[in-house]
Amino acid sequence: MARIGVFICHCGENIARTVDCAAVAAAAAKMPGVVHSADYKYMCSDPGQQMIRQAIAEKKLTGAVVGACSPRMHEPTFRRAAAEAGLNPYLLEMANLREHCSWVHEDRAAATAKAIDLVRVMVEKVKRNRSLYPIRVPIEPTALVVGGGIAGIQAALDIAGGGKKVILVERGPSIGGHMARLSETFPTLDCSQCILTPRMVEAASHPNITLMTYSEVEAVEGFVGNFQVTIRRKAKYVDWSKCTGCGDCWAKCPARKIPSEFDARLGARTAIYRPFPQAVPNKPVIDREHCIMLTKGKCGACAKACQRGAVNFKDQDELVKVKVGAVVLATGFDLWDHSAYGEYGAGKFADVIDGFQFERLASASGPTGGEIRRPSDGQVPRTVVFIQCCGSRDEKVGKAYCSKICCMYTAKHGMLYKHKVHDGRAIVFYMDIRAAGKGYEEFIRRAVEADGVEYVRGRVSRIYRRTDGKLIVRGADTLAGRAVTVEADMVVLADAVVPRSGGEKLAQLFGVGYDTDGFYSEAHPKLRPVETAAAGVFLAGACQSPKDIPDSVAQASAAAAKVLGLFARPELEREPVVARVNENTCVHCRACIQACPYGAVEDHEIRDRKGHLVRTVARVNEGLCQGCGTCVAICRSGCIDLEGFTDEQVFSEIATLE
């Protein structure tokens, strides 16, 4: 005989405001099989949980129904309480009286009647529940970090430092990401390369880190603890086991005018190249789109120059399969293409540049050797205008968000310019200054007060080029309430931060959500900012939202801590909500096998005692099953059931409402 306990929560006022909780508890007490019924203001609180534990023990309950909030919120809480009192946690169910009832209704009588129905449904269900036990699956204690920028490097180093193996995958030929391109960093003006490159080397030489540069994630199978990831190692056309990185090859390459991605198209590179002198690994790849040998079939200058015979034009992409237990996505950001802004020259003026181009101009390793020389004629600009919020906070171009880093790097740019061109003018147009960070406001003040960067609050409406080459910047000074016109030699646009191209495809591979701007979605904006909806997949850096270096590094370490926490146990406990095939009635039509999005349904051969094949049926691999129920729906003869949500349970829930 079922002995069911019912516990109705007021959720403070949340449920009690619209639902007569005492009446629900009284009605529940009369339901067949219910031997205990109570209501309380906060069932999730310690005294509330104690009521449940006590009733389970004293009334020898065989099942419990908690009428409260969504099971997404507190099912683990109440199931833990049940387990503490000795009841199998899967014999406790929740009736959602808040999201499904009180929050969405106003009529108290009708809402109370509905709440009683919701409780009755769950009482009928719980009578048919059976004890379930967590499924234990082994964890592969290797992490995959996707993206070799500062966030990816930090996450990889922290995980490797914790004693676990890491595979660091980077799309480009070198790790380092955007940080390697920066001249100096706010708010301390320390040299970006000086703090980054030692970490790059450390990542490359760490015994626990396997570096896979010039590689991309191709396919993902499996689940937390047991992902099988296929990685495409793009053809490098250079055998790195032979290459010493001497540079003879790129010195001889005749394709010399390819815009350098690293130098933000301000410099040129060859077809066989390393992106920058401090690249890690410090070995070249051949860009197959621009290589004369690979496109036209004749050249081979690099192969002739290479004394080690490392150049191999027949190199092919290679697919590598790896097994990992957790994944950190650290794919970073790009700058928005400001050519959509016709009023700022639609990207056609050589001297209207973006933040990265300014970084390269200011960098000692940049195309100008660190001298600020404008791209069009190499002259030192005497007046430079910086425009913040270029694309950011502009719903006209579909970007409502603040890009967060621009206020700070623009102040830095102004400073760097003033440090190099003492008599020059740096004028910043801004909407607001957002300098909320340690030492950030002080940094802005320093730019204004110590370095004389001029700040004008207002928008620039138009930039056009006069015949003498001057860029005429027309804007408003909203504090002074007047129009402003500046004759500038160069304009730097603080373009909006956007997610890296291809990010959506990667998210789909891993089952990670993303917002309308393409930034990856965290599992909870406050309480789970590093996790994603996909178990075992974590986020680090600007792929989630615009972030500066300290925030990216902090999140990367947080993601690493999550990975190490996951790897701290040899086995993973998984919810036993999995599908089960009735092998007596299965006819092996394989519809479920083909429908399963997780590849969790497999062919299973039933053999007699002598080993002769009797027949083949479908069987669910508990370790892979995510309990989505697709196979249950697809099975024409209805011979698959989902544990915890069996046909019988669902049927009885519906039947009791008749």
């Binding site: 006819v587 039509c589 003869s637 209805g638 046909d647």
Partner: protein, 268 residues
């Protein structure tokens, strides 16, 4: 040589050579056609083929009493060959020997791959009969209320004899959903509720699989126009997914498989 004579000759040869232990074909029974099971080369004379041969003989191939006889050959017009291809796609058979007959010609003895190739080459555009298309157009032109009334009247005739299911080679479940009784989703009583549920579920379970052979409708003693349901769903599948079942033995099920470029227009 007529088609019937050619079938007899091939059947006798297959049986004599041992390539088939049993040939399933058609024989005359008065003005009707009935299935013939021939295991002796001397008995092939009963086999005939003409346009009265409507039954889908593929239905026998999964029966244990037939399978236990050893290799079986079956007289197969295009609709039957398509059924065999679907059965192969659903891992219900791995091989088949067919005596392939078309409305225009006899194509001799083929294996499954040969049958699939023949279907693609010669019978890729099998059109339903004009009468059936006309009836469906009439049904489509009705208001939803009129259509509901039409089907209520039709389904009211159903006695739940399940002849439609027995005649269909694709209704091969060991336990049909209608016989699942824990819980019993579909009432087994021959009354409106259960009849509706049964008929609609039968049709949906055929969606993307039905080869429009017509065996179910021919078997129905109550004259329920099942082909209208089958055709409506087939056309919907063709329109939505561009798929026609029964041509590719390696095809994935239309319902239960997906492609990234599937039409999402229904999501609002």
């Amino acid at each position: 040589m007529s088609t019937s004579e050619a079938i007899r000759a091939d059947a006798a040869r297959l049986l004599a050579e041992g390539r088939a232990k049993l040939v399933i074909g058609y024989r005359a029974r008065g003005p009707h056609r009935a299935p013939a099971f021939v295991s002796d080369p001397a008995g092939v004379d009963v086999l005939i083929y003409d346009n009265l041969c409507k039954q889908n003989l593929a239905v026998y191939l999964r029966k244990p009493e037939v399978r236990s006889r050893g290799p079986v050959a079956v007289v197969a017009p295009p609709a039957v060959m398509r059924s065999l291809v679907v059965l192969a796609a659903e891992s219900q058979l791995t091989e088949a020997t067919v005596l392939a007959v078309g409305p225009d010609a006899y194509h001799g003895v083929l294996d499954l791959a040969g049958a699939a190739a023949l279907l693609k080459e010669k019978y890729a555009d099998l059109a339903p009969s004009p009468e059936l298309l006309e009836a469906l157009a009439k049904l489509d032109a009705m208001s939803p209320q009129e259509r509901a009334r039409f089907w209520t009247d039709q389904f009211a005739k159903c006695t739940r004899c399940y002849a439609c299911r027995a005649a269909c080679p694709l209704c091969y479940c060991a336990r049909c959903i209608v016989e699942k009784n824990v819980p019993q989703w579909i009432s087994t009583a021959a009354a409106q509720h259960g009849n509706f549920a049964w008929q609609i579920i039968r049709a949906f379970h055929q969606a993307g699989r039905c080869t429009l052979c017509g065996a179910c409708e021919a078997a129905c003693p109550q004259g329920i126009p099942l082909m209208l349901l089958n055709l409506a769903l087939s056309e919907e599948v063709a329109k939505q997914f561009g798929e026609k079942p029964g041509y590719d033995p390696a095809a994935k099920p239309v319902i239960g498989s997906w492609k990234p470029d599937d039409d999402q227009g229904f999501v609002r």
